[in-house]
Symmetry: C2
Subunit: 407 residues, 2 copies
């Protein structure tokens, strides 16, 4: 007998990716190309250790106390100043400090999604965003970026647009400038909320950065910005992920509602992390780390592409992305069972990201998301060699299905 209330139905739609990953974490020598992790050797840990100790000693009532729900005022202002330096006319009332980019998605979902509302995305898109929105029960529709003339029509049918213009997760795709302009124009024309999720915007390896959707939307606007773009930034890929600091830049009335939602979600963010972030911004730590990260990740991007060429080019096609953390490998065989491949990969000592979790509408064929930032060239080569073995295993298993039944 059980009278306990059932778990909420939205949980049935979540993917089990993380538990599968966690389940394989104990395997010695596993090469993990599934996640989106930075290389910890880049962390400016000595300086952050000094700042942390100093912040706690000098301002214990701030560093260890409750912070304002919307973020420390000086950090909101410092983030606004960073965007103003890029020509975006924003003030502190445009800024919410969040406890991670994921929290920004959760809060925007709470404020802007009611059951059945329609979110337009360029699929495949970030599974973590769909997970964050899932408790609010939205519907999804694909937005074809190759037809700029149809964007306004697509937006008019949506309540919210979700985009990762810089090196989309999972595809690594960069949205080109004309399409960015068309997206922003359509959002203004239809007055549709347009999320620009931008965790990877600092990770351009070739050529200069394109202007973001917020920059394009804010061109020539009065302060404070009041347009339809909801920009999300994060410290995770620019400095360190563990501080759990992100931010939202948006119209002040939306920011005020996000603050209400945050109050009901975690009351306030960690103050010590906010003081560390503020010091990092003020000292230029992000600028100091940036060229090192770019050099390291650019080299690893090449290393992964070369390893893929050596080991898995019979099975997959891909483009080399201009930035970000991932190569999106599309299977040549449309019947490839990606979930089986992921399991077979774990058996062989490599963990890869299955593409299907990013593609709930089933619009693209079987694919893998492969990360190149965490591992060095040697490990990336080993990982791809193992993936080739796993591909042969499942090809053999497909001919002899009983051989794999044990698992």
């Amino acid at each position: 007998m059980t009278g306990r209330a059932e778990f909420a139905s939205w949980l049935e739609g979540t993917n089990d990716l993380t538990s599968r990953f966690v389940g394989s974490a104990g395997i010695a020598d596993l090469v993990n190309v599934a996640g989106g992790l930075p290389d910890a050797s880049l962390f400016p840990s000595e300086r952050l250790a000094e700042i942390a100790a100093q912040a706690i000693r000098d301002r214990p009532e701030v560093a260890l106390g409750y912070a304002p729900t919307g973020g420390l005022p000086e950090l909101r202002e410092a983030i606004a100043a960073r965007y103003r330096a890029r020509g975006v006319n924003v003030g502190a009332s445009n800024v919410l400090v969040t406890a991670s980019g994921t929290q920004a998605l959760d809060l925007v979902g709470k404020v802007l999604i009611e059951p059945g509302r329609r979110i337009a995305c360029d699929f495949p898109t970030y599974a973590g965003a769909m997970d964050a929105f899932r408790p609010r029960e939205p519907r999804y529709q694909d937005m074809d970026l190759s037809r700029p003339d149809r964007l306004a029509g697509a937006m008019a049918r949506a309540d919210l647009v979700y985009m990762i213009p810089n090196f989309s997760n999972p595809t690594g795709k960069l949205v080109d400038l004309p399409t960015r302009r068309a997206l922003v124009e359509a959002a203004h024309e239809t007055d549709t909320w347009l999320i620009e999720d931008d965790p990877y915007g600092a990770l351009y390896y070739d050529g200069p950065a394109l202007p973001g959707l917020l920059e394009l939307s804010a061109e020539g606007c009065d302060a404070p910005y009041d347009g339809p773009v909801i920009h999300m930034g994060s410290l995770s890929k620019q400095l360190v992920p563990g501080l759990r600091v992100g931010w939202v830049i948006a119209a002040p009335d939306l920011i005020a509602k996000l603050v209400s939602a945050k109050q009901a979600t975690d009351l306030c963010s960690n103050a010590l992390s906010q003081l560390l972030t503020l010091a990092a911004l003020e000292e230029g730590m992000i600028e100091e780390m940036h060229p090192k990260a770019i050099a390291l990740y650019r080299e690893r991007r090449t290393a992964l592409a070369e390893a893929m060429e050596r080991h898995i080019s019979d099975w997959f096609d891909w483009e080399i992305p201009v930035g970000g953390m991932f190569i999106w490998a599309r299977a040549k065989d449309p019947s490839l069972d990606v979930d089986r491949l992921v399991d077979a990969g774990v058996e062989r000592g490599v963990l890869v990201g299955p593409g299907n979790v990013f593609d709930p509408l089933g619009l693209s064929g079987p694919a893998l998301r492969l990360n190149f930032t965490l591992n060095d060239a040697e490990k990336l080569d080993r990982g791809m060699a193992r993936l080739a073995l796993a591909l042969r295993d499942i090809a053999a298993g497909a001919r002899m299905p009983e051989a794999t039944a044990a698992e």
Copy 2:
């Protein structure tokens, strides 16, 4: 013209308490007895500064990296060990580390509440919990703790029970042992999820602590605990609030779903805060701080009660609570306009908590929540003297309504 999707309807139900408080934060010399803030002089800041620096230096990849969603394994185990020492047979699979007690409420709401589900509470109850549950759109029903024979019936009509047995927020009420036993028995009998929100359990000023609902539910159970109690703990009132560390102890299948929900909410908690918490638990920092906090807050509880006696006893009745952070002051005049009194208090330089936000069903008369932990005796006296002036202001204003129309 605006085509922007409307803000979600649940936001209309949120109280504006925080924005009212924030709006008055700039007033010089305001005595704030509205919040539930600890005294920062108790923070062991020097030792925490040392530990923070050392954790970042010694384990940068952990302290500054992504943490497992459910919490650092060693912290989950350390929290479980703390409860085992009190006779509760729990393991790490019973523990979720959260980014604050508020996040625990948000996650439990996401996992256990569907629109229309019924939550039974002992009203008035914690407004922050109702705010955290609000996006899930539950209904509320009052549970009369004075009739233990009716608890099982009340629980059978509810999907979830929410209780703060130790010094309820806002009333400071301590649920006695027979009622605790009856609650746990009814929860087992009806197999109803029973939340024990316990941020104040360490703040007993008179006599020994009563066993908690989790302890009573887990008596003689096999490990891991699989009963109906969902226990929520927090570091905020035992050490410092700014680390934003809380935890849930519950049945492993519920913990697993809470981990899924947390993944979709903030991916993971701050790792540095978790390492600081772990060190604090291992070094006995909580035990070291505890007698100092008890001595300070016990003295201030007396100071507030004496100041109330001196200044506002003509208008209010109250009981002196055995622990916690608040005295609940019930107005003698059932027509007292508490919202007006809060505003008049701000004018006079004291910020008090209106009781009505804790009582959405309107079951109790006008009341105030008064905090005694943040301010010393002299400030508490000044605050109550100002509150008496505000009471006279609104009494005068009630006779001359035009005099207050300016605001």
